[in-house]
Amino acid sequence: MFDFLEGYNLWEAFWTTVQLTVLSAVGSLIWGTLLAAMRVGPVPLMRGFGTAYVNIVRNIPLTVIILFTSLGLNQTFEVTLGSDMTDTTNFRLAVLGLIAYTSAFVCEALRSGINTVPVGQAEAARALGLNFTQVLTLVVLPQAFRSVVGPLANVLIALTKNTTVAAAIGVAEAALLMKEMIENEAQLVLISAVFAFGFVCLTLPTGLILGWVSKKVAVKR
């Protein structure tokens, strides 16, 4: 029944999906945290920059961003991100695009987390004589991170699904393999079911596990 799978490397395609997800998740967590720090900081110019970035990037389709990394950055500006193979370049460009897009959502999630910390916490910390960096790293951020596990999990799952957009610039991940298989084999429903199952396996457990974690670690107020 499943002999149409022969000759296709399903594992490798889904492995690429996972790699895209993990690398982009790490990258957007870093850039998103920086953006969030800018947006809640005391310097108006940085707040303005953060707000502008988030509002602009959130409203552009990810497809436009990813295709731009390929057609704009790569073909017009010859950016290769340090690789001489087309496949590797496209993979890295896709990660770059995903990071640029996802960090806007990470930033918003973190910012809402910082807003859930009661002002009294920071006031008490300042009363003890802690400075801005200490208040941020010792008192506010730990509580903020614990309250945003849920929202960040949502961003992570959205990111997992969004990695399929990399198919638009030919990164050999699951959606591209699915397209190729459907074109070559006469097993539409079964092929779709296999890929649907693959994505359910990637997203549903993440949602359930992280949902449970977020309830566990959330600061009860």
Partner: protein, 297 residues
């Protein structure tokens, strides 16, 4: 002004802020200058590449037809997905376990699959089992993918909208002798529709953004797909074309986002309603498999 992180600033902090601002502007200016240099070196700033967008032809030949297709797909998807989502959402609240179960499985399944996978499936479906013409297939496929995904998200919005209403509403309805069906139709749904308007508008942004996938992968002639032929015709003005297309998307989606938050504010201030609102931000949570927005605490 005081926030969680910092107090009203004294003279020392103000001085430090100015220093940080100056450094930040310097870094930003350096990056912009470097980008300007790179653009200039590749000749991307030549007026010829940007000029087409200030004349009618680029708009009437490429951008406007593309935008029309984008909006058409988004509108169709919304119109079909809304009633479907409403049915699924109400079914998830049913008293019968099997109705609840089936609707739950459908919603969770389509929420956990990427839209692109659904679109690819749709395209193959229409080419193998129907006689939809080759020209129409991409539109059908895009709408199918968007409907399947967004109906399940809208189902969650409807569910969250109904759950956000105060319990007393349903209790009062049954106290005056309305049946379950009547309670839903006359009491809960009309209020829930108002409550979920911000979330629905905000979901429209997601739909508009997702149509771009059709242009990139399924040869659907939408706004995104206009970039290719347009930049080929106007002498490889890839960058300019992308900028204009991105700007159009930003304008559409930013107005929708602003409209959603305006609606939200208005609904919260309204004195006539029960105060139930499904916020625009909740959409992110509602599109995640396994997640639910719970009712009023």
């Amino acid at each position: 002004m005081s926030s969680v992180l910092y107090d009203a600033q004294g003279p020392k902090a103000k001085r430090r802020n100015i220093v940080i601002s100056v450094v930040f502007v310097a870094v930003l200016a350096a990056v912009l200058w470097w980008m300007y240099g790179a653009l200039d070196e590749k000749g991307q700033l030549a007026w010829d590449l940007w000029k087409p967008f200030f004349h009618g032809e680029a708009w009437s030949t490429y951008l406007w037809p593309g935008l029309q297709n984008t909006l058409k797909a988004a509108a169709l998807a919304m119109i079909i997905a809304l009633p479907l989502g409403a049915v699924l959402g109400i079914a998830r609240l049913s008293d019968h376990a099997w109705v609840r179960g089936v609707a739950g499985v459908v919603v969770e399944f389509f929420r956990s699959i990427p839209v692109l996978v659904l679109m690819i499936f749709g395209l193959a479906l229409f080419s193998e089992y129907t006689n939809v013409s080759t020209d129409d297939r991409p539109l059908y496929a895009v709408v199918t993918g968007l409907v399947l995904y967004n109906a399940s998200v809208l189902a969650e919005i409807v569910r969250a909208g109904i759950l956000s209403l105060p319990r007393g509403q349903a209790e009062a309805a049954s106290a005056i002798g309305l049946r379950k069906n009547q309670t839903m139709r006359f009491i809960l749904l009309p209020q829930a529709v108002t409550a979920m308007l911000p979330a629905i508008v905000s979901q429209l942004v997601v739909i508009v953004k997702d149509t771009a996938l059709g242009g990139a992968v399924l040869t659907f002639p939408d706004l995104m797909a206009a970039v290719g032929p347009m930049s080929a015709y106007y002498g490889a003005n890839t960058l300019a074309s992308f900028t204009v297309v991105a700007l159009i998307f930003i304008v559409i989606n930013f107005s929708l986002t602003s409209f959603a938050s305006w609606l939200e504010r208005r609904l919260r201030q309204g004195k006539k309603s029960t105060g139930a609102v499904v916020t625009a931000d909740a959409v992110e949570e509602l599109s995640t498999p396994g997640e639910h927005v719970e009712g009023k605490k």
